[in-house]
């Protein structure tokens, strides 16, 4: 089993006023599609556990393509749960300067109102079940610095503000 992860803003997924309600801000803010496609990242299962492994790779992929270093919330859902809703991910190249992670990207393609709603329900359920993890700014910096140190990421491929921040931290123990 594998999982699909996506960056969200956790506070937006705070339960709505009624049971099972999903705030519109969560959908319009965190499930923005491009050409009806929704970007997600693959995480393998962690051993026999019902948990994703290497979630930090997803954060690295996201943060290395960002223009600022901020905290990142990542939520995950199982691919089986997606299949059960009639949704299938399509592998596409991820937009990240970390070359080794580019093939870990998928799109949920040709989404319409109904199918996007199904994704929203799955993500909402995931957040309620604590299938979400926050990486603080300091942790994000640390992931980027480590990636540079092991040559998985070149500083020159980072956006200027991120590069400046990482370069500053590279010299620190």
């Amino acid at each position: 089993m594998a999982f699909l992860a996506r960056k969200i803003s956790r506070a937006k997924w705070d339960p709505g006023p009624g049971p099972g309600e999903i705030r519109a801000d969560a959908v319009t803010g965190d499930l923005r599609t491009e050409d009806d496609d929704l970007s997600m990242w693959i995480c393998p299962q962690s051993g026999g556990l019902d948990l994703p492994s290497n979630l930090s790779d997803v954060v690295l992929a996201l943060a290395s393509g960002s223009k600022r270093v901020d905290k990142i919330d990542v939520a995950w859902i199982s691919i089986e749960a997606l299949h059960a809703q009639g949704l299938a991910p399509t592998p596409t190249a991820g937009e990240t300067p970390v070359a080794s992670l580019q093939d870990r990207h998928v799109d949920l393609q040709q989404l319409d109102y109904e199918r996007l709603g199904k994704v929203a329900r799955l993500l909402s359920s995931a957040v309620r079940n604590n299938q979400v993890q926050r990486f603080r700014e300091k942790q994000v910096v640390s992931l980027l610095v480590e990636a540079v140190k092991r040559n998985a990421l070149r500083p020159e491929d980072l956006q200027p503000d991120v590069r400046e921040r990482i370069t500053r931290n590279l010299g620190e123990p």
Partner: protein, 229 residues
């Protein structure tokens, strides 16, 4: 009244006019014997000697009826009452010219695009300009007004966290009020602002915060630890 002493409370202080260092253009006229600075918001108000005498006579009468209080306690109560009453007589302080228009402009620009982690927002520079021109004190009130949308408050707090020129005292006020919000989004944004400012002076606020949401309580604690390492 012939020998008024400078005194302070949590809300206001008065000074004999000759001892006040504010620009003289603030005076309304020669009949004004006192100027009042309301410290919770910008501006200086005035009270006539007649009104002040009326307030003091009334408070004197009230104090005499409360003989069980110690003299210190009585003085504190009277002093607070004076300032409360003066504040009521003076009304709200005058806002700097153009501040409301500038704030409305910020809101329009903020609403045009969502605030996203990892991405700059087009209104960031304008907020920085606003703080440079007017300070952040106005925002400490405006962002938490009852009619102001909490989602906007959260967005403002997240963006203010990206602006290092926000004065330390105002950072504390913004975070304190944000943490007191009933909305998770606002509390989360207040903690993120501290994280973005990298301001160790705000650690105590986070450490003393008790949040009903476990994940948010963990976040506050972790950010506080990050800032003290």
């Amino acid at each position: 009244m012939n020998n008024p002493t400078e005194s302070q409370s949590g809300t206001a202080y008065t000074r004999q006019r000759s001892g006040f260092s504010a620009p003289s253009r603030r005076y309304v006229g020669e009949t004004s014997d006192f100027m009042i600075e309301i410290s919770e918001s910008p501006g200086i108000a005035h009270i006539s000697i007649e009104d002040l005498a009326l307030v003091l006579r009334q408070l004197e009468a009230n104090a005499e009826s409360e003989s069980t209080r110690s003299s210190t306690a009585t003085m504190c109560v009277r002093r607070k009452s004076i300032f409360d009453t003066i504040g009521g007589l003076a009304g709200p302080p005058r806002l700097p010219d153009g501040i409301e228009v500038a704030f409305a402009s910020l809101i329009r620009a903020l609403d045009a695009e969502i605030v996203e982690d990892g991405e700059p927002h087009p209104v960031e520079d304008a907020i920085g300009g606003f703080v440079r021109e007017f300070g952040a004190r106005y925002l400490c009130e405006a962002l938490f007004a009852a009619a102001f949308r909490p989602t906007r408050t959260a967005s403002f707090l997240r963006l203010l966290g990206r602006i290092q020129i926000v004065p330390s005292r105002d950072r504390g006020r913004l975070v304190e009020r944000g943490l007191a919000s009933t909305r998770v989004e606002v509390r989360d944004a207040a903690i993120q602002a501290v994280e973005s400012w990298h301001d160790p002076a705000l650690v105590d606020l986070l450490m003393s915060h008790r949040d009903s949401e476990a994940w948010l309580a963990d976040y506050a604690k972790a950010v506080a630890q990050d800032l003290t390492e």
